[in-house]
Protein backbone atom coordinates (compact mmCIF):
# COMPACT_ATOMS: atom_id res chain seq x y z
CA UNK A 1 0.00 0.00 0.00
CA UNK A 2 2.96 2.29 -0.26
CA UNK A 3 2.38 3.45 -3.83
CA UNK A 4 -0.23 6.17 -4.25
CA UNK A 5 -1.62 4.48 -7.37
CA UNK A 6 -2.27 1.27 -5.45
CA UNK A 7 -5.51 2.45 -3.79
CA UNK A 8 -6.87 0.99 -0.59
CA UNK A 9 -9.96 -1.21 -0.72
CA UNK A 10 -13.23 0.61 -0.04
CA UNK A 11 -14.01 -1.93 2.66
CA UNK A 12 -10.79 -1.10 4.53
CA UNK A 13 -11.40 2.64 4.25
CA UNK A 14 -14.84 2.25 5.79
CA UNK A 15 -13.54 -0.05 8.53
CA UNK A 16 -10.79 2.44 9.35
CA UNK A 17 -13.24 5.33 9.44
CA UNK A 18 -15.49 3.32 11.77
CA UNK A 19 -12.57 2.38 14.01
CA UNK A 20 -13.14 -1.29 13.25
CA UNK A 21 -9.89 -2.18 11.50
CA UNK A 22 -7.45 -4.34 13.51
CA UNK A 23 -4.50 -2.27 14.85
CA UNK A 24 -1.83 -3.68 12.51
CA UNK A 25 -3.91 -3.11 9.36
CA UNK A 26 -5.00 0.23 10.71
CA UNK A 27 -1.39 1.45 11.06
CA UNK A 28 -0.49 0.29 7.55
CA UNK A 29 -3.53 1.99 6.02
CA UNK A 30 -2.93 5.24 7.90
CA UNK A 31 0.60 5.44 6.58
CA UNK A 32 -0.79 4.85 3.07
CA UNK A 33 -3.26 7.71 3.54
CA UNK A 34 -0.37 10.07 4.21
CA UNK A 35 0.85 9.60 0.66
CA UNK A 36 -2.35 8.84 -1.28
CA UNK A 37 -4.56 11.90 -1.73
CA UNK A 38 -7.42 9.95 -3.33
CA UNK A 39 -7.66 7.44 -0.51
CA UNK A 40 -7.30 10.16 2.11
CA UNK A 41 -10.17 12.10 0.56
CA UNK A 42 -12.33 8.99 0.36
CA UNK A 43 -11.59 8.18 3.99
CA UNK A 44 -12.44 11.69 5.15
CA UNK A 45 -15.63 11.63 3.13
CA UNK A 46 -16.76 8.38 4.74
CA UNK A 47 -16.22 9.86 8.17
CA UNK A 48 -17.92 13.12 7.26
CA UNK A 49 -20.96 11.38 5.79
CA UNK A 50 -21.54 9.30 8.89
CA UNK A 51 -20.96 12.28 11.18
CA UNK A 52 -23.43 14.42 9.23
CA UNK A 53 -26.02 11.67 9.18
CA UNK A 54 -25.58 11.06 12.92
CA UNK A 55 -25.80 14.79 13.72
CA UNK A 56 -28.90 15.35 11.58
CA UNK A 57 -30.56 12.25 12.97
CA UNK A 58 -29.85 13.31 16.54
CA UNK A 59 -31.23 16.76 15.90
CA UNK A 60 -34.37 15.33 14.36
CA UNK A 61 -35.04 12.70 17.02
CA UNK A 62 -33.93 14.59 20.13
CA UNK A 63 -36.75 17.05 19.57
CA UNK A 64 -39.17 14.19 20.21
CA UNK A 65 -37.57 12.87 23.39
CA UNK A 66 -39.51 13.38 26.58
CA UNK A 67 -37.55 14.54 29.67
CA UNK A 68 -35.70 11.73 31.45
CA UNK A 69 -36.87 12.44 35.01
CA UNK A 70 -40.28 10.72 35.08
CA UNK A 71 -39.01 7.62 33.23
CA UNK A 72 -36.05 7.32 35.56
CA UNK A 73 -38.24 7.70 38.65
CA UNK A 74 -40.64 5.08 37.29
CA UNK A 75 -37.78 2.65 36.68
CA UNK A 76 -36.42 3.19 40.21
CA UNK A 77 -39.87 2.54 41.64
CA UNK A 78 -40.33 -0.65 39.63
CA UNK A 79 -36.83 -1.88 40.42
CA UNK A 80 -37.48 -1.36 44.12
CA UNK A 81 -40.73 -3.27 43.75
CA UNK A 82 -38.94 -6.17 42.05
CA UNK A 83 -36.12 -6.11 44.57
CA UNK A 84 -38.70 -6.37 47.33
CA UNK A 85 -39.79 -9.63 45.75
CA UNK A 86 -43.27 -8.64 44.66
CA UNK A 87 -44.97 -11.92 43.94
CA UNK A 88 -45.45 -12.70 40.25
CA UNK A 89 -49.01 -12.80 39.00
CA UNK A 90 -49.18 -16.46 38.15
CA UNK A 91 -49.79 -18.85 40.99
CA UNK A 92 -50.14 -22.61 41.01
CA UNK A 93 -53.79 -23.47 41.19
CA UNK A 94 -53.98 -26.95 42.62
CA UNK A 95 -57.57 -26.31 43.56
CA UNK A 96 -58.54 -25.96 39.93
CA UNK A 97 -56.32 -28.72 38.62
CA UNK A 98 -57.52 -32.22 37.75
CA UNK A 99 -55.22 -33.49 40.51
CA UNK A 100 -57.43 -31.92 43.14
CA UNK A 101 -58.67 -35.20 44.53
CA UNK A 102 -55.19 -36.66 44.77
CA UNK A 103 -53.91 -33.51 46.45
CA UNK A 104 -56.70 -33.45 49.00
CA UNK A 105 -56.28 -37.15 49.73
CA UNK A 106 -52.55 -36.65 50.28
CA UNK A 107 -53.21 -33.65 52.46
CA UNK A 108 -55.64 -35.57 54.62
CA UNK A 109 -53.12 -38.38 54.97
CA UNK A 110 -50.40 -35.93 55.85
CA UNK A 111 -52.54 -34.22 58.48
CA UNK A 112 -53.05 -37.58 60.18
CA UNK A 113 -49.31 -38.26 59.95
CA UNK A 114 -48.55 -34.79 61.29
CA UNK A 115 -50.72 -35.33 64.35
CA UNK A 116 -48.97 -38.65 64.95
CA UNK A 117 -45.59 -36.95 64.87
CA UNK A 118 -46.70 -34.30 67.33
CA UNK A 119 -48.09 -36.88 69.74
CA UNK A 120 -45.02 -39.07 69.48
CA UNK A 121 -42.66 -36.16 69.84
CA UNK A 122 -44.26 -35.17 73.12
CA UNK A 123 -42.99 -38.30 74.79
CA UNK A 124 -40.67 -37.65 77.76
CA UNK A 125 -37.57 -38.80 75.83
CA UNK A 126 -37.09 -35.29 74.42
CA UNK A 127 -39.25 -32.22 74.01
CA UNK A 128 -39.76 -30.62 70.65
CA UNK A 129 -39.16 -26.91 70.74
CA UNK A 130 -42.09 -25.53 68.75
CA UNK A 131 -39.91 -23.16 66.81
CA UNK A 132 -41.06 -22.53 63.27
CA UNK A 133 -38.64 -19.68 62.71
CA UNK A 134 -34.89 -19.88 63.17
CA UNK A 135 -33.06 -17.71 65.66
CA UNK A 136 -31.48 -15.00 63.48
CA UNK A 137 -28.43 -14.90 65.76
CA UNK A 138 -27.77 -18.60 65.27
CA UNK A 139 -29.12 -19.00 61.75
CA UNK A 140 -28.96 -15.74 59.80
CA UNK A 141 -28.80 -17.63 56.49
CA UNK A 142 -25.77 -18.03 54.27
CA UNK A 143 -25.51 -18.44 50.50
CA UNK A 144 -22.78 -19.48 48.12
CA UNK A 145 -21.91 -17.44 45.05
CA UNK A 146 -23.54 -20.00 42.72
CA UNK A 147 -25.65 -18.34 40.04
CA UNK A 148 -29.25 -19.18 39.19
CA UNK A 149 -28.09 -20.59 35.89
CA UNK A 150 -25.68 -22.98 37.59
CA UNK A 151 -28.21 -23.98 40.22
CA UNK A 152 -31.05 -24.51 37.78
CA UNK A 153 -28.82 -26.66 35.56
CA UNK A 154 -28.43 -29.11 38.47
CA UNK A 155 -31.40 -31.36 39.13
CA UNK A 156 -32.76 -31.42 42.65
CA UNK A 157 -31.55 -34.68 44.22
CA UNK A 158 -34.00 -37.10 45.80
CA UNK A 159 -32.43 -36.60 49.19
CA UNK A 160 -31.31 -33.39 50.81
CA UNK A 161 -27.66 -32.55 51.22
CA UNK A 162 -26.54 -34.73 54.13
CA UNK A 163 -25.36 -32.94 57.23
CA UNK A 164 -22.36 -34.28 59.14
CA UNK A 165 -23.57 -35.72 62.44
CA UNK A 166 -21.28 -33.64 64.71
CA UNK A 167 -22.43 -30.48 62.95
CA UNK A 168 -26.08 -31.51 63.23
CA UNK A 169 -25.70 -32.25 66.93
CA UNK A 170 -24.01 -28.86 67.35
CA UNK A 171 -26.95 -27.12 65.70
CA UNK A 172 -29.46 -28.97 67.91
CA UNK A 173 -27.46 -28.08 71.02
CA UNK A 174 -27.27 -24.42 70.00
CA UNK A 175 -31.07 -24.47 69.86
CA UNK A 176 -31.27 -26.07 73.27
CA UNK A 177 -32.28 -29.52 72.03
CA UNK A 178 -29.90 -31.93 73.74
CA UNK A 179 -31.56 -35.18 72.70
CA UNK A 180 -33.58 -34.65 69.51
CA UNK A 181 -36.51 -36.94 68.84
CA UNK A 182 -35.98 -38.98 65.70
CA UNK A 183 -38.32 -37.97 62.84
CA UNK A 184 -39.76 -35.04 64.79
CA UNK A 185 -37.52 -32.50 63.08
CA UNK A 186 -36.11 -31.60 59.77
CA UNK A 187 -32.61 -30.22 60.06
CA UNK A 188 -33.48 -27.52 57.59
CA UNK A 189 -31.39 -25.26 55.43
CA UNK A 190 -32.82 -21.77 55.85
CA UNK A 191 -31.73 -21.08 52.27
CA UNK A 192 -31.86 -24.53 50.64
CA UNK A 193 -28.86 -25.76 48.61
CA UNK A 194 -30.93 -25.81 45.42
CA UNK A 195 -31.30 -22.04 45.87
CA UNK A 196 -27.62 -21.56 46.66
CA UNK A 197 -27.85 -22.06 50.43
CA UNK A 198 -24.52 -22.87 52.04
CA UNK A 199 -23.82 -26.08 53.94
CA UNK A 200 -22.96 -24.19 57.07
CA UNK A 201 -24.31 -24.18 60.62
CA UNK A 202 -25.32 -20.55 60.16
CA UNK A 203 -27.73 -21.73 57.49
CA UNK A 204 -29.19 -24.66 59.46
CA UNK A 205 -31.80 -25.00 62.14
CA UNK A 206 -33.92 -27.77 63.61
CA UNK A 207 -37.39 -27.25 62.23
CA UNK A 208 -40.09 -29.27 63.98
CA UNK A 209 -42.78 -30.94 61.94
CA UNK A 210 -45.14 -30.35 64.81
CA UNK A 211 -44.96 -26.56 64.64
CA UNK A 212 -48.30 -26.30 62.86
CA UNK A 213 -49.36 -24.52 60.83
CA UNK A 214 -45.87 -23.27 59.92
CA UNK A 215 -44.27 -26.68 59.68
CA UNK A 216 -41.31 -27.99 57.72
CA UNK A 217 -43.85 -29.17 55.11
CA UNK A 218 -44.92 -25.60 54.38
CA UNK A 219 -41.29 -24.50 54.23
CA UNK A 220 -40.50 -27.30 51.77
CA UNK A 221 -43.41 -26.21 49.57
CA UNK A 222 -42.14 -22.63 49.63
CA UNK A 223 -38.63 -23.72 48.66
CA UNK A 224 -40.05 -25.68 45.77
CA UNK A 225 -42.11 -22.70 44.63
CA UNK A 226 -39.18 -20.26 44.85
CA UNK A 227 -36.87 -22.55 42.91
CA UNK A 228 -39.50 -22.84 40.21
CA UNK A 229 -39.82 -19.04 39.99
CA UNK A 230 -36.05 -18.52 39.95
CA UNK A 231 -35.48 -21.16 37.28
CA UNK A 232 -38.31 -19.74 35.17
CA UNK A 233 -36.50 -16.39 35.29
CA UNK A 234 -39.42 -14.81 37.13
CA UNK A 235 -37.60 -14.08 40.38
CA UNK A 236 -34.02 -12.95 40.98
CA UNK A 237 -32.07 -15.54 42.95
CA UNK A 238 -30.84 -13.05 45.56
CA UNK A 239 -34.41 -11.91 46.22
CA UNK A 240 -35.47 -15.52 46.86
CA UNK A 241 -32.46 -16.02 49.16
CA UNK A 242 -33.10 -12.80 51.00
CA UNK A 243 -36.80 -13.47 51.48
CA UNK A 244 -36.07 -16.90 52.96
CA UNK A 245 -33.36 -15.49 55.24
CA UNK A 246 -35.47 -12.55 56.42
CA UNK A 247 -38.71 -14.28 57.32
CA UNK A 248 -39.77 -17.43 55.54
CA UNK A 249 -43.36 -17.39 56.79
CA UNK A 250 -43.80 -13.84 55.45
CA UNK A 251 -42.31 -15.07 52.17
CA UNK A 252 -44.77 -17.98 52.14
CA UNK A 253 -47.70 -15.60 52.65
CA UNK A 254 -46.45 -13.34 49.89
CA UNK A 255 -45.61 -15.99 47.31
CA UNK A 256 -48.74 -18.06 47.84
CA UNK A 257 -50.93 -15.05 48.63
CA UNK A 258 -52.49 -16.64 51.68
CA UNK A 259 -52.43 -15.94 55.40
CA UNK A 260 -52.09 -19.55 56.52
CA UNK A 261 -50.33 -22.49 54.85
CA UNK A 262 -52.40 -24.15 52.15
CA UNK A 263 -53.96 -27.42 53.16
CA UNK A 264 -52.32 -29.29 50.30
CA UNK A 265 -48.91 -28.27 51.61
CA UNK A 266 -49.44 -30.16 54.85
CA UNK A 267 -48.41 -33.26 52.92
CA UNK A 268 -45.50 -31.68 51.11
CA UNK A 269 -42.30 -33.57 51.76
CA UNK A 270 -39.09 -32.57 50.03
CA UNK A 271 -36.43 -33.13 52.65
CA UNK A 272 -36.13 -36.12 54.95
CA UNK A 273 -36.75 -35.92 58.70
CA UNK A 274 -33.80 -35.97 61.06
CA UNK A 275 -33.16 -39.44 62.49
Amino acid sequence: MSRPTDHAAEEDLVLLAMGELPPDRSAALESHLETCVGCRRAHEEVRAVLAKFADGRREELDARLPPAGPARAELRRRLAEQAEGAAPQRLPSLLTSPNLRVALALAALALVAGVAVVQWSETPAGAVAARYAPDPRLTPGLATSASARELCASPVPDEALPVARPVAVGVFRAYGVADPEPRAYELDYLIPPELGGAGDARNLWPQPYGAEPWSAHAKDALEDRLRHLVCQGELPLAVAQRDLARDWTAAYRRYFRVEEPLVEHAGFLKDQPWE
Binding site: E11, V46, F53, A63, L75, L79, G199, P236
Partner: protein, 211 residues
Amino acid sequence: MLKVKFGRFWPGQGRGSGAAGALSLPLESAAPAVELRDATGIEQEVADIEQQVTDLFDELRVPALRYLLSLGLSAADGEEILQEVFLALFQHLRNGRPRTSLRGWVFRTAHNLGLKRRKKVHTNPAPAVEPELLGRSADHRPNPEERLRERQAYERMRAVVNALPERDQACLSLRAEGLRYREIAEALGISLGAVSLSIQRSLARLREARP
Protein backbone atom coordinates in the same frame (compact mmCIF):
# COMPACT_ATOMS: atom_id res chain seq x y z
CA MET B 1 -18.20 -12.02 53.61
CA LEU B 2 -16.05 -14.96 54.52
CA LYS B 3 -14.36 -17.76 52.77
CA VAL B 4 -14.96 -21.28 53.93
CA LYS B 5 -14.37 -24.68 52.45
CA PHE B 6 -16.86 -27.49 52.32
CA GLY B 7 -18.17 -30.38 50.29
CA ARG B 8 -19.73 -30.19 46.85
CA PHE B 9 -23.27 -31.26 46.20
CA TRP B 10 -24.47 -28.11 44.55
CA PRO B 11 -22.90 -25.53 42.27
CA GLY B 12 -20.84 -23.09 44.25
CA GLN B 13 -20.29 -25.45 47.15
CA GLY B 14 -16.80 -26.65 46.23
CA ARG B 15 -15.68 -30.30 46.28
CA GLY B 16 -15.96 -32.68 49.16
CA SER B 17 -16.12 -36.29 50.19
CA GLY B 18 -19.64 -37.24 51.15
CA ALA B 19 -21.62 -36.55 54.25
CA ALA B 20 -18.71 -35.95 56.57
CA GLY B 21 -17.39 -33.18 54.35
CA ALA B 22 -20.73 -31.63 53.66
CA LEU B 23 -20.57 -28.78 56.12
CA SER B 24 -18.20 -25.96 56.61
CA LEU B 25 -17.63 -26.36 60.29
CA PRO B 26 -14.98 -29.05 59.89
CA LEU B 27 -12.62 -26.96 57.77
CA GLU B 28 -10.24 -29.73 56.86
CA SER B 29 -11.60 -30.23 53.32
CA ALA B 30 -9.06 -29.80 50.52
CA ALA B 31 -11.66 -28.14 48.29
CA PRO B 32 -10.97 -24.67 46.89
CA ALA B 33 -12.39 -21.83 48.97
CA VAL B 34 -15.72 -20.44 47.81
CA GLU B 35 -17.17 -17.09 48.63
CA LEU B 36 -20.15 -17.07 50.95
CA ARG B 37 -22.66 -14.27 51.26
CA ASP B 38 -24.49 -13.64 54.47
CA ALA B 39 -27.84 -11.83 54.67
CA THR B 40 -26.14 -8.42 54.54
CA GLY B 41 -24.09 -9.49 51.53
CA ILE B 42 -27.21 -10.66 49.72
CA GLU B 43 -29.02 -7.37 50.46
CA GLN B 44 -26.00 -5.43 49.24
CA GLU B 45 -25.88 -7.44 46.04
CA VAL B 46 -29.50 -6.62 45.25
CA ALA B 47 -28.80 -2.91 45.89
CA ASP B 48 -25.67 -2.99 43.71
CA ILE B 49 -27.56 -4.51 40.81
CA GLU B 50 -30.30 -1.89 41.14
CA GLN B 51 -27.66 0.82 40.97
CA GLN B 52 -25.94 -0.77 38.00
CA VAL B 53 -29.23 -0.97 36.10
CA THR B 54 -30.01 2.67 36.89
CA ASP B 55 -26.54 3.77 35.76
CA LEU B 56 -26.94 1.94 32.48
CA PHE B 57 -30.41 3.45 32.05
CA ASP B 58 -28.89 6.93 32.49
CA GLU B 59 -26.25 6.12 29.90
CA LEU B 60 -28.36 4.34 27.30
CA ARG B 61 -31.87 5.76 27.57
CA VAL B 62 -31.40 8.51 25.00
CA PRO B 63 -29.59 6.48 22.30
CA ALA B 64 -31.92 3.50 22.79
CA LEU B 65 -34.98 5.75 22.67
CA ARG B 66 -33.72 7.41 19.50
CA TYR B 67 -33.25 3.97 18.00
CA LEU B 68 -36.82 2.99 18.89
CA LEU B 69 -38.12 6.24 17.39
CA SER B 70 -36.19 5.46 14.20
CA LEU B 71 -38.04 2.13 14.08
CA GLY B 72 -41.20 4.17 13.76
CA LEU B 73 -42.44 3.94 17.34
CA SER B 74 -43.88 6.80 19.35
CA ALA B 75 -41.89 8.27 22.23
CA ALA B 76 -44.47 6.91 24.69
CA ASP B 77 -44.14 3.39 23.29
CA GLY B 78 -40.36 3.75 23.31
CA GLU B 79 -40.32 4.75 26.98
CA GLU B 80 -42.56 1.85 27.88
CA ILE B 81 -40.33 -0.60 26.02
CA LEU B 82 -37.25 0.76 27.78
CA GLN B 83 -38.86 0.19 31.16
CA GLU B 84 -39.37 -3.44 30.16
CA VAL B 85 -35.82 -3.68 28.84
CA PHE B 86 -34.22 -2.41 32.04
CA LEU B 87 -36.44 -4.46 34.32
CA ALA B 88 -35.42 -7.49 32.27
CA LEU B 89 -31.81 -6.39 32.65
CA PHE B 90 -32.26 -6.47 36.42
CA GLN B 91 -33.35 -10.10 36.19
CA HIS B 92 -30.59 -10.86 33.71
CA LEU B 93 -27.91 -9.54 36.03
CA ARG B 94 -29.43 -11.00 39.18
CA ASN B 95 -29.54 -14.44 37.69
CA GLY B 96 -25.81 -14.50 37.11
CA ARG B 97 -25.91 -13.97 33.37
CA PRO B 98 -22.81 -12.58 31.65
CA ARG B 99 -22.16 -8.91 32.23
CA THR B 100 -20.07 -8.39 29.13
CA SER B 101 -21.52 -6.42 26.26
CA LEU B 102 -24.49 -5.13 28.19
CA ARG B 103 -24.93 -2.38 25.61
CA GLY B 104 -25.42 -5.00 22.91
CA TRP B 105 -27.84 -6.85 25.19
CA VAL B 106 -29.88 -3.69 25.89
CA PHE B 107 -30.15 -2.79 22.21
CA ARG B 108 -30.99 -6.35 21.22
CA THR B 109 -33.79 -6.53 23.76
CA ALA B 110 -35.02 -3.06 22.78
CA HIS B 111 -34.88 -4.00 19.09
CA ASN B 112 -36.87 -7.21 19.60
CA LEU B 113 -39.49 -5.60 21.81
CA GLY B 114 -39.62 -2.63 19.44
CA LEU B 115 -40.40 -4.81 16.42
CA LYS B 116 -43.03 -6.67 18.41
CA ARG B 117 -44.67 -3.42 19.49
CA ARG B 118 -44.53 -1.98 16.01
CA LYS B 119 -46.30 -5.02 14.62
CA LYS B 120 -48.98 -4.55 17.24
CA VAL B 121 -49.61 -0.86 16.66
CA HIS B 122 -49.11 -1.00 12.86
CA THR B 123 -47.00 2.10 12.92
CA ASN B 124 -45.23 3.19 9.79
CA PRO B 125 -41.79 1.57 10.05
CA ALA B 126 -39.89 4.41 8.43
CA PRO B 127 -41.43 7.78 9.15
CA ALA B 128 -40.67 10.59 6.79
CA VAL B 129 -38.55 13.50 7.98
CA GLU B 130 -40.62 15.91 9.94
CA PRO B 131 -39.26 19.35 9.06
CA GLU B 132 -41.33 21.11 11.69
CA LEU B 133 -39.63 18.99 14.34
CA LEU B 134 -36.24 19.91 13.00
CA GLY B 135 -37.13 23.53 13.50
CA ARG B 136 -37.94 22.86 17.15
CA SER B 137 -34.60 21.42 18.08
CA ALA B 138 -31.82 23.42 19.66
CA ASP B 139 -29.85 25.51 17.23
CA HIS B 140 -26.19 25.85 18.12
CA ARG B 141 -25.02 27.23 14.79
CA PRO B 142 -25.08 30.98 14.28
CA ASN B 143 -25.29 30.97 10.52
CA PRO B 144 -28.88 30.43 9.29
CA GLU B 145 -27.79 29.80 5.71
CA GLU B 146 -25.35 27.13 6.74
CA ARG B 147 -28.02 25.64 8.94
CA LEU B 148 -30.50 25.54 6.10
CA ARG B 149 -27.94 23.86 3.85
CA GLU B 150 -27.21 21.25 6.47
CA ARG B 151 -30.84 20.56 7.01
CA GLN B 152 -31.41 20.12 3.31
CA ALA B 153 -28.37 17.82 3.12
CA TYR B 154 -29.75 15.75 5.96
CA GLU B 155 -33.15 15.55 4.32
CA ARG B 156 -31.51 14.17 1.19
CA MET B 157 -29.65 11.66 3.31
CA ARG B 158 -32.85 10.66 5.06
CA ALA B 159 -34.52 10.04 1.73
CA VAL B 160 -31.62 7.78 0.76
CA VAL B 161 -31.73 5.95 4.09
CA ASN B 162 -35.50 5.49 3.92
CA ALA B 163 -35.04 3.69 0.61
CA LEU B 164 -32.53 1.24 2.10
CA PRO B 165 -33.55 -2.27 3.19
CA GLU B 166 -34.74 -2.24 6.79
CA ARG B 167 -31.75 -4.15 8.10
CA ASP B 168 -29.36 -1.63 6.53
CA GLN B 169 -31.32 1.19 8.14
CA ALA B 170 -31.06 -0.54 11.50
CA CYS B 171 -27.29 -1.10 11.16
CA LEU B 172 -26.73 2.51 10.20
CA SER B 173 -28.93 3.85 13.01
CA LEU B 174 -27.12 1.74 15.58
CA ARG B 175 -23.74 2.84 14.23
CA ALA B 176 -24.91 6.45 14.39
CA GLU B 177 -25.66 5.78 18.08
CA GLY B 178 -22.04 4.76 18.54
CA LEU B 179 -22.41 0.98 18.73
CA ARG B 180 -19.43 -1.13 17.71
CA TYR B 181 -19.91 -3.64 14.91
CA ARG B 182 -19.98 -6.57 17.34
CA GLU B 183 -22.67 -4.83 19.39
CA ILE B 184 -24.74 -4.20 16.26
CA ALA B 185 -24.31 -7.85 15.29
CA GLU B 186 -25.54 -8.87 18.74
CA ALA B 187 -28.43 -6.42 18.72
CA LEU B 188 -29.72 -7.55 15.34
CA GLY B 189 -28.71 -11.20 15.60
CA ILE B 190 -26.60 -11.11 12.42
CA SER B 191 -22.95 -11.83 11.67
CA LEU B 192 -20.13 -9.35 11.98
CA GLY B 193 -19.49 -9.66 8.25
CA ALA B 194 -23.13 -8.83 7.50
CA VAL B 195 -22.86 -5.67 9.64
CA SER B 196 -19.67 -4.62 7.88
CA LEU B 197 -21.15 -5.13 4.40
CA SER B 198 -24.37 -3.39 5.34
CA ILE B 199 -22.64 -0.27 6.63
CA GLN B 200 -20.26 -0.14 3.71
CA ARG B 201 -23.24 -0.36 1.32
CA SER B 202 -25.23 2.31 3.13
CA LEU B 203 -22.30 4.73 3.33
CA ALA B 204 -21.64 4.27 -0.39
CA ARG B 205 -25.28 5.26 -1.10
CA LEU B 206 -25.01 8.26 1.18
CA ARG B 207 -21.80 9.41 -0.47
CA GLU B 208 -23.40 9.10 -3.90
CA ALA B 209 -26.25 11.31 -2.77
CA ARG B 210 -23.97 14.15 -1.66
CA PRO B 211 -24.17 17.29 -3.78
